[in-house]
């Protein structure tokens, strides 16, 4: 039982989230809606957003799963500090992340000369968009997965090892399947965060149509010149976000056989 009065601030909170969405929806020019969201530049931005977010999510999974495993399953000095640092992008303003990326991968950045020698230009390219998105999204996946790994415990892994399974087999056939719900929700969160990424992208990748102008950047550009189009595209982004969140498992799957 919760006290009745709790409902009042709770409702206020829900209103804070939903009212602006309603406000935005009320401004949608429905007559032109289809034309606005299917214009060439709109579709280019949407497609760029979806593609870069997908790639950055894959990158997050490839790097984040090993990170979560190291954080959850090993112990070493300085682990706590390392975890805090890895999670830094969660609390860092994205624009600061963008500046950090620029001075690392940019032409005059930390790795600029090395990348130049290889003939690679990262800043202001689609690669930069993906890097910026992965930078801000990685902690979401790591946090979600580390929690799942810790709550799943190591007992099944020990049993699997005594049944003759090598560490790689245990990871593939036991650990990953057991934490799959956590992994999926982490990946969905990372994808959603990538899709909404703005600050780091515009700082590190700029806003070049077709190359780095993702949907949030496109909307930001339009909001003065063509408010109707900006509102229409915003609605599209809201719908995509709702669909993505709807795909995430709401509750971890019950693990059977445990008392």
């Amino acid at each position: 039982m919760i006290p009745r009065w709790v409902y009042a601030p709770a409702a206020l909170g829900v209103a804070l989230v939903l009212l602006p969405l309603a406000g935005m929806a009320s401004r949608v020019a429905w007559g032109d809606f289809v034309d606005l969201v299917t214009s060439d530049s709109a579709l280019t931005a949407l497609s760029l957003s979806l593609r870069t977010s997908l790639v950055s999510t894959v990158l997050c999974v490839l790097l984040g799963v090993p990170m979560a495993l190291v954080l959850a399953r090993t112990e070493f000095p300085g682990q706590g500090v390392l975890r805090s640092l890895v999670l830094l992008p969660l609390v860092l303003p994205p624009v600061v992340g963008g500046i950090a990326l620029l001075y690392t991968f940019g032409r005059r950045g930390l790795l600029g000369d090395e990348l130049d020698l290889l003939g690679v230009q990262v800043a202001f390219s689609t690669t930069a968009v993906v890097l910026a998105q992965a930078f801000v999204s990685l902690p979401f996946l790591v946090v979600s997965l580390e929690g799942s790994l810790r709550s799943a415990g190591q007992r099944y892994e020990v049993v699997a090892a005594t049944l003759g399974a090598s560490p790689t087999t245990v990871l593939r056939r036991v650990t990953i399947p057991l934490v799959l719900p956590g992994l999926v929700s982490g990946a969905v969160l990372a994808f959603a965060r990538s899709l909404g990424e703005f600050g780091a992208t515009i700082t590190f990748a700029g806003s070049l149509e077709g190359t780095t102008r993702t949907l949030p950047l496109y909307i930001y550009n339009l909001r003065v010149t063509d408010p109707d189009a900006a509102v229409a595209m915003s609605l599209v982004l809201v719908v995509v976000a709702v669909v993505v969140i709807g795909l995430a498992p709401q509750r971890p799957r019950r693990t059977g056989g445990l008392r």
Partner: protein, 346 residues
């Protein structure tokens, strides 16, 4: 297949050396914290002792020269919880070991099905672990451990988490499948030690305090722990009409824990002293077994009194013992319900 194990873990105050001969089942008994689980962990390779050595079949698994990781030891562990992988079917759980040994999917499933049959659980093959009972799950876990073809099997209180109603059937299954295997069994239950193990090793405070054949250690215990857990009543005899006809002439009705012994087969009836009631006169018209005996001894037993009559014993509250005015030489009747008596083939 022989096991030689020395485990020195000063952190846990454990310093134990045990040997298990090929095909032998050794029961590790001892109070909580005596070091039983530590010994299993050292054998399984999940714990690397500060000092110690594990040699299985002449292969050094833990030692100064090296350390074989758990998955390469061929040492399977069966814990109190079945820990079936919840995302795999029962069949794939059992096939996990064969698959890890490098066998193909088909071969692995075939051998899994065979092992499920071995523990009378073949009908569960397509079920999910979440949908079967605790006793069934533990049967499957036994099959899974055996399917991994271990050289050494470690059992950590395999029946502790089960209902008393299903434990006897699983114990029978274990009795069958553990024969001729090299096994270390950690248990709190004297019945397990008696029926499953060839030899009993009693640990206390991280040291071996007793080591010998099960029957010997349990009938003539020298350590306080062995004495406390031993003291089951046992009557050996022939199976006739649902009763054990004792060699000393008594007849005891009981539940056959395994599929019906043949008439005339040699069996043993086992019951706990706490299941025995004591009367001056045989209680009339009751379904209980009544045994006329002469009290030979009375001794304190925890907060109760253990009444001994020859090789049988009954545990009574101090009050009941006083009301019955018991003393050595008094003739009384020991009564025990047939449902409290377990009958095993010998």
């Amino acid at each position: 297949m022989t096991l030689e194990l020395t485990a020195g873990v000063p952190d846990r105050g454990v310093d134990v050396t045990i040997e298990v001969a090929a095909g032998e089942t050794v029961a590790l008994l001892g109070p909580n914290g005596a070091g039983k689980s530590t010994v299993l962990a050292v054998a399984a390779g999940t714990l690397r002792p500060e000092r110690g050595r594990v040699v299985l079949d002449g292969r050094e698994l833990t030692g100064e020269r090296g350390f074989v990781p758990p998955h390469a030891r061929r040492v399977a562990l069966l814990a109190q919880d079945p820990l079936l992988f919840p995302h795999l079917s029962v069949l794939d759980n059992v096939a996990f070991g064969p698959r890890s040994l490098g066998h193909g999917r088909r071969t692995s499933r075939e051998s899994a099905l065979r092992w499920l049959g071995e523990v009378d659980a073949a009908d569960l093959a397509d079920r999910r672990p979440g949908g079967i009972s605790g006793g069934q799950a533990q049967r499957v876990a036994v099959a899974r451990a055996l399917a991994a073809e271990p050289s050494l099997l470690l059992l950590d209180e395999p029946m502790a988490a089960l209902d008393v109603a299903v434990a006897p059937a699983l114990r029978q299954t274990l009795r069958r499948v553990l024969a001729d295997r090299t096994v270390v069994l950690v248990t709190h239950d004297v019945l397990d030690a008696l029926l499953l193990a060839d030899r009993v090793v009693v640990l206390d405070d991280g040291r071996v305090v007793e080591d010998g054949p099960s029957a010997e250690v349990l009938s003539r215990p020298r350590s306080p722990f062995a004495a406390r857990i031993a003291g089951l009543n046992m009557v050996a005899g022939l199976w006739r009409d649902g009763a054990v006809l004792g060699d000393d002439g008594v007849a005891i009705r009981g539940l056959a824990a395994e599929a019906g012994p043949a008439p005339g087969e040699r069996v043993v009836a086992v019951f706990r002293p706490s299941a025995v009631s004591v009367f001056h006169e045989a209680p009339g018209g009751s379904p209980r077994n009544s045994l006329a005996v002469t009290v030979t001894d009375l001794e304190p037993h925890g907060d109760q009194v253990r009444v001994r009559a020859g090789h049988l014993a009954a545990d009574l509250t101090v009050q009941s013992a006083a009301e019955l005015d018991l003393a050595p030489g008094v003739r009384v009747v020991f009564a025990v319900k047939a449902t409290e008596v377990y009958v095993y083939r010998t």
